[in-house]
Structure formats: structure tokens, C-alpha cells
């Protein structure tokens, strides 16, 4: 069974890019969310193997979404997608329980490296 990934980003463009990279490698994109609140809801419904999470989003931020998800699902595997210059936010997200991060703009190989590492974590 393919690994199921939930992609969270308010920009459709970014969701498409990440989705293309992962599909090519045989991942299944089980859902896409455009906000933090949506992400939390969809996680509950789908319980994916992995989440890619944008940091700055309308209504609930990616960091708050991580907190909400980890609270209910402590073993959730979340990969942050950050822009340059958001260092302290990334640190905060990892503190909240995100497992790794990639920085936009990114190389496909770099995204896959992080995805695989996060998935391999016990």
C-alpha cells in the first residue's frame, strides 16, 4: 500500500509542486488542506502517514496545527515547509513536535530526503 500524504499549504501552486514531487515517487496524496483548521480536521479523518505543513497560513498557523495534531496523535509525522528567514518559527514547530523541515525554494531530492527520514522514524 502506498504511503498516504496530506499536503497543507494555502497556495495551490505550492500544493501542486509538492504533490507532483511525491506522486512521481509513488506516494499517494490522500488530501490537501488550505488552512490550519482544515489540516487538523482532515488529519482526524484521514490519519495519513505523513503531513507536509506550511507555516504561515490564514486562520490557524502551521505551528498551531502541529500542536493540535500532536496533542491528539502524538506519533504524527509532520514535515514543515518553511520560507527563508523563518528560523525561529521552524524551531518553534519542531519544539511542538514536527519532525523535520524543508526550505522553499527546494529541490525535489531534498524534499524526498526529508520525507524518507521522517517516515523512517520510529
Amino acid at each position: 500500500m502506498a504511503t498516504r500524504v496530506l499536503i497543507v499549504d494555502d497556495a495551490i501552486f505550492m500544493r501542486r509542486m509538492i504533490s507532483d514531487i511525491l506522486k512521481k515517487e509513488g506516494f499517494e496524496i490522500c488530501g490537501e488542506a488550505g488552512s490550519g483548521t482544515q489540516a487538523v480536521q482532515m488529519y482526524r479523518e484521514l490519519q495519513p502517514d505523513l503531513v507536509t505543513m506550511d507555516i504561515i497560513m490564514p486562520d490557524m498557523s502551521g505551528i498551531d496545527a502541529v500542536r493540535e495534531i500532536i496533542k491528539e496523535f502524538p506519533n504524527a509525522k509532520i514535515l514543515m515547509v518553511s520560507a527563508m528567514g523563518q528560523q525561529s518559527l521552524v524551531v518553534e514547530a519542531i519544539q511542538a513536535g514536527a519532525k523535520d523541515f524543508v526550505v522553499k525554494p527546494f529541490q525535489p531530492s531534498r524534499v524526498l530526503e526529508s520525507v524518507n527520514r521522517v517516515l523512517n522514524l520510529k
Partner: protein, 620 residues
């Protein structure tokens, strides 16, 4: 480890070992020779400290074991026998071999340590249980592992990346701390790598693989704490000259300077133009050589201080204390001999700060302080010398404890203690054998600390000041001269005496008339460019006879602590370079004197301690 210290360590350790074996031989001849016993003890203690800071574990262990034995002997808990002397000599041989990078079979060392342990247990049965517990606890701590994590060259958001690594170790409950410290890492204040201290794990390889799997991590290596004493590579960029050679050279130059002075006197007295000219150009060359030698002797303090952070880190880990250690002014230069002499005393002070000064994180939180203690080693240039300041924000010195200890040691009476200022109380810890911390620890030893520091400072012509506030911390200010030996000075006379005033304090010289001297609040002053300047009659300070009623006098204007003072003298003799010799014996304690020198005419003359006479004039 920096090769600078290696050289330093070897040469100094050799000296200590030589001194130790001489003392052991003395002890063999006279088993009651307490001076020899103390000398061996102190030698071992110092060697232990030096080796520990270099990370030489075998040398540390052996010297520590031998120090323990000497302590027992010192306290008459162990009798000296011929066998024991043999054992001490054997240990010294092992140490000599290790210091000189000769390998010794580990089993030999082990069995040697075992013998010592059995001697100790023979006398220390009652303490045995507690001590073994302590030792084991320590061992547990000592097994910490340091991982060097190297980041990829193209790493983005370096701090966050480092945090991913730290977090993964935190999740495994093995994270201890980092170097640089966590805050610096979060502020991207690090290069391409960080060191992370973690608790011991059974299998390190999977852990390393795990960290390496984190993106943008180039490599992870285990730093070997207990690196073998043998794998030493000494870099050779410059040639190394032993300090002894430099000392010799400087002494010869000093003789030459004195001889030059005599020659000049002769040349002027016979008024031979050619001789005077030739002497003048020779003089210039002599001065140039002197300057060069001075420069060769000057090294940045960092050369020695750079080894402290590592030591402080290990030490605070071992004691479970959180400490931020900072070094400021490490590019300031100091005479190599002075710096060498200060290396160990400073280590003592830093050890004390960690061990006795900084509280445990729990205690600190309880006292509403940040759980992380702060220790600063700061070097500052000041006129005529360098200040080295060791300060901590720990619990401060315990005045009452010092007083009661001083009373029990008969240093002061109870009555006296009530009248003492804080400063006077703190100065009590400079007395030999003074230590308020009762138990013996591996780190600070037996209170050979502060008094030993003070002795070294006195020897090199420095001073030590202590200030402390309960709950706020302690500060040690070491004032050391820039260099030893030759100073430029003005020779002045009062009555029949010639005194020497170092040029470093002198602002200018002026001439004043008797009627320009006024008295304000019982003190003599004169007006200089609309400012009032206190007058100090040099003759009054040293109780020399002179004609007070002369019409005019010479004034040497000096600056001390940013204030001007006028030193009144009768005449200026000449400006000259003098060789400073320390005051010894009865003269050593006279206030206002910084040293003595031999004048060109062969007569001794005193060098004035300018800040000292300013203080005297204020009190008197």
C-alpha cells in the same frame, strides 16, 4: 588540543617532576622533612590539575593517587617506609615517561593504582564506603560522549537544522548540552559544526547513523574524550625558544644596560666627543634589542586561556551545573613568563568559581536566578599592566564561614572579626592553608587554591583583589605587570637619597615656588592650569631629611586612577632605564616601594610605587 599548551605542559610538567623527585630523595634521607612532603604534595596537585585540563587521563589518575598518598602522610595518617619511597619514585618515573610521550602498558598503570588504593583503604576504612560511592558516581558522569556534528556546506536555516538534531537527542533522553551553548546555536553563532554532549549509550553506531540521516548533516563523529596520552602531534610553524634562553638573553641585556650607563658617565666626565657619539649609537642598538626581546616575550593571553572553555565545559558537566563561560580580551598580550606563571592560578580560580561559586540549577531557580550560571574571564589593558578578572554570578563568599574559620586557625581574634571590613575579611582567604570548603573534591582539591594564586601573584609583582556579594557572586581582580625586568624611569633626589619614579605614571614635570603651595583641609595643594592638584612630599613619605624651606622645588606630575598628583622632589637627576629587582626580606613589606635597583654608581636605589604613595598620602 592546541599545540601551544602541549609544549608548555611538557616543559612545566618536567620541572614539577624534577622538583618532586628531588623532594622524594630528600624525604628518603630524612623521613620527617615536612617541607619535602609538602613540596611533593603540591607538585602532584599542580600536575594533576595541568594534566586534567589537557585531558591526559593517565597522568591525572597517577598524580591524583600520589597526591592522596602525600595527603595522608602530611596528616600523619600514613607512615613513611622505604617501600613507600620506592612506590613514590616509581610513580614519578611513570609520570615522567607519560609526560614525555613514552607509552606505558595500561595494566602496569592499573596495578600501580591498585597498590595505592590498597594503601589508602588500609588507612581509610571508615571513609571507604562513601568514597567508593562517590567514585562510582563520578565514573558514571565521566562516560559522557561528545559528538561532533558537521553541517553540509549548503545548509539553510542552520539553527533550525541544529535544533532538529538536538531535539532528536532530547527525545531519546540522552541530550546533555552543546558547545557552543544552546543560545548561541539558536542565534546562528557557530561555524560549520557543533559539539553535542550526550549521555553514554551502549551502541553509538546506530545513533550516529540516525543523526547522519537528518538532511544537511554532512558528518557525525565521536570526539574521544580520554584521548590517549600518546597521540600528540606538535605543529612546527615557528621555531620554539625556551623561556630560559630568553631570560638569559634579557639578563645579559640588563647587564649591558647598566654597563652602558657607567660608560656614559665616564665618557661625559672625560668629555671625549668620539666616545660619546659611539656610545650614543650603541645605546640605540641596545634599546632596539631590548624592545625586540620584549616583543618576543609577549604572547596573547588566548594562547593559554583558549584551553579553559573545554575544561570548564567538562567540569560543569561533571558537577551538573549549567554554566555560560565567556572569555574577553584574549588578544591582549602579556609576557610569556608571567602568562605561564598565571596559567595554573587562573585554573584554580575558575575551578573554584564552578565548584564553589555557581550554585546548582535548582538552587539558582530557588533564588530567582537564571538556572545557568555565568563566569567571565576578562583581560584588560591598564596603565603599567594588565588586569585579569575572574567573576562569577554565584552565591558569593560566605563572610561568616570565613571569619569562623579564621578564628579557628588563630588568624584573627573574635574581637578583631567584628571590626573588619568586607574587604579585609575576604583577604583572609589568601592565608596559606585557608579553605572553607571542608570536603575534598576531585576538582578543587584541598584548598591549595586561592593562597597559591596569591603567592604566584606576589612573586611576579602583581596584586589580587577580592570582592564578593552574598547571592550575587564573587570577583577576583588580578593585576599583573606587563613584563618583568627593565623599566624607564626618572631618577629624582630628595636630600641625599635618590628615588626612582617609573615613567609610566609620569605626565610631566614642573617647577614651583614655595608661595604657590596652599593648604586646603590640612592637605598641601598647588594650582595647575586652574585645577587643584594634591601635593605629595616624597621625603615625608619615606621620612628623609631635606631642606623644606627652599625657594623652589621640582614637581613630578603623576596620574593615578585618572587623578593628578604632584610629587615634590628637590632635583631631577636623569632619565634612565633601570633593572627592577624585587624587594626581599624586611624591605618587602614597606608600603610605597615597588622594588629596588642598582644605580650606575653601584649604589642601591628604591623604585617608588606611585599608586602606593598616593594611598599613603591620603591616609597620612
Amino acid at each position: 588540543m592546541n599545540s601551544n599548551y602541549e609544549e608548555l605542559f611538557i616543559s612545566e610538567a618536567e620541572d614539577y617532576l624534577e622538583q618532586i623527585s628531588n623532594s622524594i630523595l630528600k624525604l628518603e634521607k630524612d623521613m620527617n622533612d615536612t617541607e619535602a612532603i609538602n613540596s611533593i604534595f603540591r607538585g602532584m596537585h599542580t600536575l594533576k590539575g595541568m594534566a586534567a585540563s589537557m585531558g591526559y587521563s593517565s597522568i591525572t589518575k597517577i598524580s591524583h593517587a600520589m597526591e592522596d598518598i602525600m595527603d595522608l602522610i602530611r596528616n600523619s595518617k600514613l607512615n613513611i617506609t622505604v617501600d613507600l619511597i620506592d612506590l613514590l619514585l616509581k610513580g614519578t618515573d611513570y609520570l615522567t615517561s607519560l609526560v614525555n610521550k613514552r607509552e606505558i602498558d595500561e595494566n602496569i598503570i592499573k596495578s600501580f593504582l591498585k597498590v595505592i588504593e590498597s594503601i589508602k583503604t588500609g588507612v581509610e576504612t571508615s571513609k571507604k564506603i562513601i568514597e567508593t560511592e562517590k567514585v562510582e558516581e563520578k565514573k558514571e558522569n565521566e562516560k559522557n560522549i561528545t559528538l561532533k556534528v558537521i553541517f553540509a556546506d549548503d545548509v539553510v536555516l542552520k539553527s533550525a537544522r541544529a535544533y532538529v538534531v538536538i531535539k532528536s537527542l532530547q527525545d531519546k533522553n540522552i541530550f546533555i548540552n552543546t558547545e557552543p551553548d544552546f543560545d548561541s546555536i539558536m542565534k546562528e553563532k557557530f561555524g560549520n559544526e557543533i559539539n553535542i554532549n550526550i549521555k553514554n549509550v551502549k551502541e553509538i553506531a546506530p545513533l550516529i547513523d540516525d543523526i547522519k540521516s537528518i538532511p544537511e548533516i554532512k558528518d557525525v563523529v565521536v570526539k574521544d574524550e580520554a584521548k590517549s596520552d600518546n597521540d600528540v602531534v606538535i605543529e612546527k610553524k615557528d621555531i620554539k625558544v625556551s623561556l630560559e634562553r630568553l631570560d638569559n638573553l634579557q639578563n645579559y641585556i640588563a647587564e649591558l644596560v647598566i654597563e652602558r650607563g657607567r660608560l656614559q658617565q665616564i665618557a661625559y666626565s672625560i668629555q671625549n666627543e668620539d666616545l660619546i657619539n659611539s656610545l650614543n649609537s650603541a645605546s640605540k642598538t641596545i634599546s632596539a634589542i631590548q624592545d625586540e626581546i620584549m616583543k618576543i616575550r609577549m604572547v596573547p593571553v588566548g594562547q593559554v586561556f583558549d584551553r579553559y572553555p573545554r575544561f570548564m565545559r567538562d567540569l560543569s558537566n561533571r558537577l551538573n551545573k549549567k554554566i555560560k563561560f565567556e572569555i574577553k580580551g584574549s588578544d591582549i598580550e602579556l609576557d610569556r613568563a608571567i602568562l605561564n606563571a598565571l596559567a595554573d592560578p587562573l585554573l584554580h580560580l575558575l575551578k573554584n568559581a564552578v565548584d564553589h561559586g555557581i550554585e546548582t540549577p535548582d538552587e539558582r531557580i530557588k533564588n530567582k536566578k537564571s538556572p545557568e550560571g555565568y563566569i567571565l574571564l576578562e583581560t584588560k589593558r591598564v596603565k603599567n599592566g594588565v588586569l585579569i578578572i575572574v567573576s562569577d554570578d554565584g552565591k558569593g563568599l560566605d563572610k561568616n564561614k570565613i571569619i569562623s574559620k579564621a578564628i579557628s586557625l588563630n588568624l584573627i581574634s573574635e574581637d578583631e572579626s567584628t571590626r573588619m571590613s568586607d574587604h579585609e575579611v575576604f583577604s583572609l582567604i589568601l592565608n596559606s592553608g585557608f579553605s572553607t570548603k571542608e570536603e575534598v573534591t576531585d576538582i578543587s582539591g584541598r584548598g591549595v587554591g586561592v593562597d597559591a594564586v596569591y603567592n604566584v601573584l606576589k612573586h611576579i609583582g602583581g596584586t589580587l583583589e577580592i570582592s564578593s556579594q552574598t547571592g550575587r557572586g564573587t570577583t577576583f581582580i588580578l593585576k599583573v605587570p606587563l613584563t618583568l625586568a627593565i623599566i624607564k624611569a626618572l631618577l629624582v633626589n630628595v636630600g641625599s637619597e635618590v628615588y626612582i619614579i617609573p615613567l609610566t605614571h609620569i605626565v610631566e614635570t614642573i617647577r614651583i615656588n614655595m608661595d604657590e603651595i596652599y593648604t586646603i583641609m590640612g592637605k598641601e595643594v598647588f594650582i595647575l592650569r586652574e585645577g587643584i592638584v594634591p601635593l605629595i612630599r616624597l621625603a615625608d613619605i619615606f621620612k628623609s631629611e631635606y631642606n623644606r624651606e627652599k625657594e623652589n622645588f621640582q614637581i613630578v606630575l603623576v596620574e593615578v586612577d585618572e587623578s593628578l598628583y604632584g610629587i615634590l622632589v628637590e632635583n631631577f637627576v636623569e632619565q634612565s632605564e633601570v633593572v627592577v629587582k624585587p624587594l626581599k626580606g624586611m624591605l618587602a613589606g614597606i608600603p610605597g616601594l615597588a622594588g629596588v635597583t642598582i644605580l650606575n654608581n653601584g649604589m642601591p636605589s628604591f623604585i617608588v610605587d606611585v599608586p602606593g604613595i598616593v594611598t599613603i598620602s591620603k591616609v597620612g
